[in-house]
Subunit: 234 residues, 2 copies
C-alpha cells in the first residue's frame, strides 16, 4: 500500500534534458552578436529581456525566441541583419524538434514505479511543445494524468489536486526546481522530492527548505526514488 | 431536465472578439512592409509562413508574431530594419494585453444558461494568453470546466470527454469554426451549434454539414441558443 494516492513528476530536467538546449541556444545567440558585445553581456541582457517579457509571453521556446529577437534588435541598435534574425527563428525551430533525451535511470524508475502507483506528469510551458515532447519521450503510457500549466504556483497546483480530488497529504511531487516543484507543494501540505539538475535557470532559483522540514526530501538522482518510497511506507 | 450533461463553448470569436485583432495586426504589418510589397501580397505570404510554421509553433499570438517576423525578413531579403522588427514584437504584446470584448448577447446568454446546466469552455492557443483572456472576460465563474487544447481534433475532444466521463450523445458544443468546433463533435456523435463570426481565418474554413445532419444546428447569434435548447428538450 502506497502512502501516496498520486506520485507526480515534473518533466523538463526531471525526466528529460531541457535546460541544456537553452544553454546551447544562448551560446549560439551570443556568437551571433559577438561582433557587437561580449557573451557575458549578451547573456545578462537576454535574461533582462526574458524577465521583462515573462508577463506577456510566459514560458517556453516561442517566448525565448521572441526575447532573443528583441534583445538582438535592442542591443545592436537595430543593426542586426535579417539573416541573423532568421537564424534565431531557425534556432527556435531546432529546439522545438530536438530529440527528447531522457535523464539517466528515468526509463527504468518510471516503469518500476507505475506498478502499484498512480503517476502524474505536471509540466509548464508551451502546450504544443510539451505535448510533443511527452509523446516523443516514450513515457506517456506510464502517466495516468498529464497536466500542462502556464505557471506552477500554489494556486495552480491546488486546482490540479481539486480536479482529481487528491488530498495534498497523499500527494508526492518530484522535480528539479525548488521554486516551481517543491516549495508550493510543501506549502499545500504535500510531500516533495527535490532532485537538482546540472544547471538551474536563474528564474527558478530559490532557497532550499530546512533538511528536516516535514515532507521534504533531497535525492541525487531518480534511481534513489524507489528506495525512498519503500522507507517511507514502513 | 437538460438533454445535455455538458454544454461547451468555444471562446475566441464565439464568446469574445479575437479574429479582428489579427486582421488589424495584419493590416499594420502590411503597412510596415508597404515600401516593399502590396498589402494583398504580404497577406498571402504571411498565410504561407503561418501554414508552414503551424507544426512548429502551433496557434496563438506568439506563433503569429514569429511568422510575421519570418515573413518580413524573407520578403524584404533581409532589408527589414531592426526598428520595424521591434514594431512587430510590440504589436504582439499589444494583442496579448488587448481588452477582451465580449460578443453581443454573450454575457446574458451564458448567465442564463448556467442555471440548470453544466457549462464548459474549450479553447485552443497559447496557454497563458487564453487563461489571461478567460480571467479578464469576467465569465470564468460560469464555467465548471475549462480546457485549453493545443489543437481541436476528434482525438483531443475524445480525451476531454473521457476525462470527465461525458458521453458524446449528451454533449453539446457551440462555436464559430466548422473545422475545430463542429465537425469533430458531430463525428463523435455529439451535437454542435455553429454560430458564424464576421470573418473566418482561412485555416478554419471547412464545408458545412448538410442542414439535416443529426445533431447539427446553425444559429445567427448566441441569443438564439436558449430557445433552441428549449425546443430540443421538448
Amino acid at each position: 500500500m502506497s502512502i501516496f494516492d498520486v506520485i507526480a513528476f515534473d518533466a523538463d530536467d526531471t525526466l528529460w534534458h531541457n535546460e541544456r538546449y537553452y544553454v546551447e541556444a544562448q551560446a549560439r545567440f551570443a556568437q551571433l552578436l559577438s561582433q557587437y558585445h561580449k557573451p557575458e553581456w549578451v547573456h545578462e541582457r537576454l535574461l533582462d529581456t526574458e524577465t521583462r517579457n515573462l508577463q506577456h509571453f510566459g514560458y517556453g521556446v516561442k517566448a525565448f525566441a521572441l526575447s532573443m529577437i528583441e534583445t538582438a534588435v535592442e542591443f545592436t541598435e537595430g543593426r542586426i541583419s535579417g539573416v541573423d534574425i532568421q537564424k534565431v527563428i531557425d534556432l527556435a525551430k531546432e529546439m522545438l524538434s530536438a530529440d527528447v533525451q531522457l535523464l539517466e535511470h528515468v526509463a527504468e524508475t518510471v516503469s518500476q514505479l507505475v506498478i502499484g502507483n498512480r503517476l502524474m506528469l505536471i509540466t509548464k510551458g508551451d502546450l504544443l511543445d510539451q505535448e510533443s515532447k511527452i509523446l516523443r519521450s516514450g513515457l506517456s503510457e506510464y502517466f495516468q494524468y498529464i497536466e500542462i500549466l502556464s505557471q506552477k504556483t500554489r494556486e495552480s497546483y491546488q486546482r490540479v489536486l481539486k480536479r482529481y480530488s487528491i488530498v495534498p497529504e497523499r500527494f508526492l511531487m518530484i522535480g528539479n526546481s525548488l521554486k516551481s516543484d517543491i516549495l508550493p507543494i510543501l506549502e499545500l501540505g504535500g510531500s516533495a522530492v527535490y532532485i537538482p539538475y546540472e544547471t538551474t535557470w536563474l528564474h527558478e532559483v530559490a532557497d532550499a527548505p530546512a533538511d528536516d522540514q516535514q515532507g521534504y526530501y533531497l535525492l541525487e538522482n531518480i534511481a534513489q526514488l524507489p528506495a525512498l518510497l519503500e522507507k517511507l511506507e514502513k
